[in-house]
């Protein structure tokens, strides 16, 4: 039955889902080799998403953040408008130096916001949460040892001011093994994610063909297209 509350799909839904099914199968043909069907579907998705983004950006970014305030007499918005226009001079070899002012403002303000917060959230918060008690009395304390060894050895691996020899080199080896375990985890999760996408598409195809079967049955038996 349909995804929604046991209703059978109407004609419009059948047609649009047929388009989705066709495009899904076009993309799957790439598994055999590159072909015009795959190229068609790929170019369609690139074009549609670019066009969709352009329209969304215009109506959700440009109009409410520039055109509407200017119409309401908030002339201060002219300043960011001019900075934005200055970036377009990048396309001219003669005038591209003008774009550096806008880029300097953008990069400077972005960096100013980002650096302290990245230091706080990615370094200091992580550092304080990694300062864990270690021991052999409980399983939790023992696993903390593994965490500390992993963190320290990985940091040592990325230490470039000393050659990886002796004890230092041995620790760096432990570090690279820790990283490999991490990469394996990431790889496994990536495979899981990709399989999820495939599974959802196959479930969609299965449900569409079941719906199509019911639709055609009703159409040929009663001659009535569903609205």
């Amino acid at each position: 039955m349909s995804l929604e509350e046991g209703k059978i799909m109407g004609t419009e839904e059948i047609i649009w889902n047929a388009v989705a099914t066709f495009l899904t199968l076009c993309i799957f043909t790439f598994l055999y080799k590159d072909n015009p069907f795959y190229k068609f579907a790929e170019h369609l998705v690139v074009g549609v998403s670019a066009g969709y983004f352009a329209v969304i950006l215009y109506y959700n970014g440009f109009v409410p953040k520039l055109i509407t305030p200017l119409r309401q007499g908030e002339w201060v918005y002219i300043i960011p408008a001019i900075l934005g226009l200055m970036i377009w001079t990048r396309f001219s070899k003669k005038w591209s130096w003008i774009s550096r002012f806008s880029l300097a403002f953008y990069i400077g303000s972005g960096t100013g916001f980002a650096i302290p917060l990245y230091m706080q959230n990615y370094v200091i918060r992580q550092l304080s949460s990694t300062m864990l008690p270690v021991g052999f009395t409980t399983w939790a304390l023992f696993t903390n040892i593994l965490i500390i060894i992993g963190v320290l050895s990985a940091l040592i691996y990325f230490f470039f001011s000393k050659e990886h020899t002796g004890f230092f080199g041995g620790t760096a080896k432990v570090g690279i093994w820790t990283l490999m375990v991490g990469f394996g985890t990431g790889f496994g999760l990536t495979v899981m994610g990709r399989v999820s996408l495939l599974a959802e598409r196959v479930v969609f195809l299965r449900e569409y063909f079941i719906e199509l079967k019911y639709y055609l049955y009703i159409l040929f038996k009663y001659g009535l297209p569903l609205s």
């Binding site: 230091m119 200091i124 008690p133 230490f159 990886h164």
Partner: protein, 296 residues
């Protein structure tokens, strides 16, 4: 006279303490506490962030100054870089070209910048071996930078006449179309070595796998963590994350790059010391040190 085994005794005492007396602390995430923020000129609860940031800036600026003065700053040899020279020699023996791929991002991505620096050094090396260097490019703006890097490399090697501008060409900006184009070059030209340095996404495995199937030596480097597993399995050498930037600093000896690398090394060293100290104190039940690093 035998030395008193201080180290062994200390280790034994530590082992006994950790086994029988170590403090067990709840390590589950504490229940979330709702807080609110208010506008203020200086947030005293962030003083720790401020101090650490100032220290980090100081480290980097100090080493940049030292590098600018011409001081020799030691950076260890990166394993993958040795393979580049070996690959160039192998390509010369086999009479086959070398393929260099610089990623799919624009010059505003630091990985692409690092890749261009490495490209210049690779160009200088292959020029001396008289091996063709093929450089397919994904982003139009990167093409101009790549052409300049390769040309400068050949000039530095004293072989400006050997530079062939047709070998550095723009393919397409579309991700999988670029991967298909690069795979086609690998299958037709059968390069002796493939170098992939830069920012890669889902196309990384397609290119690395095709290169593996042709039997080329492959050296890759990227800071995109999700692509590293694919490079690690398909390539002979992989530069992981910061090693890519370290390689560009090592090869170029540019003061700012070297200074940043050494500064971040010193910061890492400090972090390791702080971490060890924090762990030891936490294990003895002293939480005041680690609480200074906790951000409210």
């Amino acid at each position: 006279m035998r030395e008193f085994p201080w180290r062994k005794i200390l280790l034994l005492l530590l082992f006994i303490y950790l086994t029988f007396f170590s403090v067990s602390k709840a390590i589950e995430t504490e229940p979330p506490v709702e807080t609110s923020s208010a506008v203020q000129w200086f947030n005293p609860q962030r003083i720790n962030v401020f101090i650490i940031l100032i220290l980090f800036f100081a480290f980097v600026l100090y080493f940049i100054q030292r590098a600018k003065k011409g001081e020799s700053l030691f950076v260890r040899r990166i394993a993958g870089l040795d393979a580049i020279e070996e690959a160039a020699g192998r390509a010369a023996e086999m009479g086959k070209p070398i393929l260099y791929i610089s990623g799919i991002e624009d010059m505003d991505n630091l990985q692409t910048v690092a890749s261009m620096i490495i490209l210049g050094n690779v160009a200088e090396l292959v020029a001396s071996y008289d091996v063709p260097l093929l450089v397919p490019i994904c982003v139009p703006f990167v093409l101009t930078v790549a052409e300049e890097s390769v040309k400068q490399g050949y000039v530095k090697a004293g072989r400006p006449e050997a530079y062939n501008p047709n070998n550095v060409k723009y393919l397409t900006q579309e991700q999988f179309a670029y991967a298909a184009g690069v795979s086609g070059i690998m299958l037709r030209e059968k390069p002796a070595a493939n170098f992939m340095f830069g920012s890669f996404f889902a196309e990384s495995l397609l290119m690395a796998e095709t290169g593996f199937s042709t039997g080329a030596i492959q050296v890759a480097g990227t800071a995109n963590i999700h692509q590293l597993p694919f490079f690690v399995v398909a390539c002979d050498y992989t530069l992981i994350g910061e090693e890519l930037y370290a390689a560009s600093a090592y090869l170029s000896r540019e003061p700012k790059l070297l200074g940043s690398l050494k500064g971040s090394d010193l910061a890492k060293f400090l972090i390791m010391i702080i971490l060890l100290l924090g762990v030891v104190l936490e294990s003895f039940g002293i939480t005041k040190f680690s609480s200074w690093f906790f951000v409210q």
